[in-house]
Symmetry: C2
Subunit: 429 residues, 2 copies
């Protein structure tokens, strides 16, 4: 049995008819992906091809950081930030965060002067390492944050600063690679054929995640399992391809928004990562589902009203893990003045499951199409599996939509315009 199940509330003869043209395209896209000629599809085999030496190097440096620092400062934006943050938030305890690792702070993903000033101040009296992550090495947010943090590291550690800076960057070129080489920083390579938003399960995501105390061997094991299971060409047996078909069918029926819904608050950044993956891969040529997210039951008291009764432009994808880390029973009360004793044999997670069931029932009755993605347990293995699943599904889905999953022309155009504007604005003053 697969480690991930996918079901829908719209599986009928009409689905078969609407899915036909997508099913027909799958074999050729599948072969194209597998052949990888000139396409940035290095991520497809990365979990399987990663060597013990590569993993050991990540673990060794991670252990060195944990021994010698109170905090790891990760500098990155987009694909160099969201994946690690997502895994960390999903798998760390909510309050005592650093039991098996140390604190990991993220910077260089925004341009707030308040944020970077207060971040640097928070490093006073604490020992730290930097991990600067940038494929190109020239992205504005992370480049200027690195300039600040690098100077601060030199002030704090003098000649030993270079030992505390790890650069994760393109395996062949770029300004960060040059700097790291000249300064003697240790480096992790991002393979040329793996784009930013597909890079989480390489050293990009693995080093920060390992430092935060998460078991990266299990994470990779899950991704490897997914890489093997989802190599299947037959869409009936490949959940990633099924998901790609379902969302394209719904889009072709006129739905404009896909709402990813979960019932565990720690999944909030998995949602953000998913939004980047699908939004950047599919949102081009005036096409693409708009990716949005809700965290239930919280958002039943917010967007729930809209989903139930509002403009019927959306469908929901429920992402659910059956088992989670811990649970808590509703206590019995002698007084029962809140009249909740009828729940006192139940646990919170059991009630959460009932809410999931009730929400799907209510939204189904409200006419909302629903895709369900179910996994067994919220742990490193299944998060690794899920991320690989989403990447493979995204690549297939974008090709089914008729767009290139691996470029980002709008971002490039905007970056170019931005650089021009910066030169004008800085020379004007």
């Amino acid at each position: 049995m697969s480690h991930l199940q996918i079901t829908t509330n719209f599986d009928d003869s009409r689905l078969e008819a609407d899915a036909l043209k997508y099913r027909a395209s799958i074999p050729s896209i599948h072969r194209f992906l597998e052949e990888k000629v000139g396409e940035p599809t290095g991520w497809l085999d990365a979990p399987v091809e990663m060597t013990t030496d590569q993993i050991d190097r990540i673990l060794n440096i991670s252990n060195e950081i944990k021994r010698n620092a109170d905090v790891l400062v990760v500098i990155g934006v987009g694909g160099s930030y969201l994946g690690a943050k997502a895994i960390q938030e999903a798998l760390s305890p909510y309050f005592k965060k650093h039991e098996n690792g140390i604190e990991v702070l993220y910077v260089g993903y925004n341009l707030s002067g308040t944020y970077i000033k207060q971040l640097v101040e928070s490093l006073e009296n604490r020992e730290f390492y930097l991990n600067v992550i940038s494929k190109s090495g020239s992205t504005m947010e992370s480049s200027i944050a690195f300039r600040v943090l690098r100077q601060y590291t030199q002030e704090r550690y003098g000649l030993k600063a270079a030992q505390r800076i790890i650069a994760t960057t393109d395996s062949e070129k770029g300004v960060l690679r040059e700097i790291a080489h000249a300064q003697g920083y240790r480096q992790f390579d991002i393979p040329k054929n793996i784009g930013g938003r597909y890079s989480t399960l390489t050293s990009v995501g693995l080093l920060p995640v390992a430092v935060s105390g998460i078991d990266i061997l299990q994470l990779l094991e899950g991704a490897k399992r997914a890489a093997i299971e989802l190599k299947e060409m037959n869409a009936e047996k490949n959940t990633a391809y099924l998901y790609a078909i379902y969302r394209n069918v719904l889009h072709s029926r006129g739905y404009q928004v896909e709402l990813l819904a979960s019932f565990e608050p720690g999944l909030r950044f998995i949602h953000e990562w998913w939004k980047q993956l699908f939004g950047e891969s599919e949102g081009k040529d005036k096409k693409g589902l708009f990716p949005a997210t809700v965290n239930y039951s919280t958002d039943l008291h917010s967007l729930g009203q809209y989903v139930q009764d509002g403009n019927p432009i959306l469908f929901e994808t429920f992402l659910h893990f059956k088992d989670v880390a811990e649970d808590f029973s509703i206590p019995y009360s002698l007084l029962d003045d809140d009249r909740l004793n009828y729940l006192s044999k139940k646990s919170f997670n059991e009630i959460n499951q009932i809410y999931k069931k009730g929400t799907i029932l209510a939204h189904s009755e409200g006419g909302v199409p629903i895709i369900q993605i179910d996994l067994k347990r919220l742990d490193a293995f299944h998060i690794g599996y899920l991320m690989y699943f989403f990447m493979k599904a995204c690549a297939m889905s974008a090709y089914l939509l008729g767009v290139d999953p691996f470029d980002q022309p709008g971002v490039e155009a905007y970056k170019k315009k931005m650089t021009e504007l910066l030169v004008v604005e800085t020379t004007a003053n």
Copy 2:
């Protein structure tokens, strides 16, 4: 001059024509809102009518909590959670959070067993108070969290537990009111004519926010200022009504998604609060703009691609504060190996402003309609002003759309169904 400016990139003769029918409806809706007959519009005058005694009581209890506790645990969901959380995140430092107050933790806004177990464990060895907030007193998430925390408070503080529990609930009825009365908890009243999502600027939001160290007098001052300025019936002089017109015009032109965009990471929960306010007020009768949010520049590396080049179903509303708490200059580098010295006279916030300008230019060229909301400074006064502005704009906007801004039939229907399902599921086992 108003404390908030509103501009658009689509202000032409076509706008005049499209806005005509909305402008025509404004006077009668305005009078209807002002007359408040039987409508839950108590929030309209709440900031002006709040007495010194009421404010002093909040400040006195807040000071007592700060003196006697390390942490305030706020129990609430939806309108009893998002507003306070939003203000706190917007106005607190990013790292050293509790300089003028104490830590405020939120619970009862989700059903995660992991979350509540780890929250209770985090209270060990720390002194705490509870503030349970629920208009009805019977919302599932907050009710069962209150049962747990109340028993834990009794274990920890014995006969003195009641002194550490503050109940904020309906001024007339409900199970929480009964419990608070019987147990001798101190109470804050939520006026009958103020609904959950319009209640932030009452004791619902003010007590937690005051405990976290934020100046609630300034917050109320801003809201009061907005209440006075936005009493204007002439839409040309009332920015809330202008915003209501603009978004309805764009919706009538076929845009389905409104994307609220900001450039300061701390505004993330202001976005969440805005989503609840507009989503729950307008998402009914198969109508309403779908409210979504982005935090730039972070999300220029995520949804930015979609906004620029994707399916043209959205318009953007930029929420911008000119001045923020702190700033940081890009340092000069002798080596200049990152080639960024051309920026070394600039500060992060200056670059952030240039990015805002560049983003608006790029998205305008991409054909995205843009509304700009500008305020002077990210501080308590302007957050108070902004929240009142959004509430007034939302009420007007929903009426212009032809829906009731103050009900939530979908949430009620779902709550009823959920309670039935819970009874079935709990008696079945």
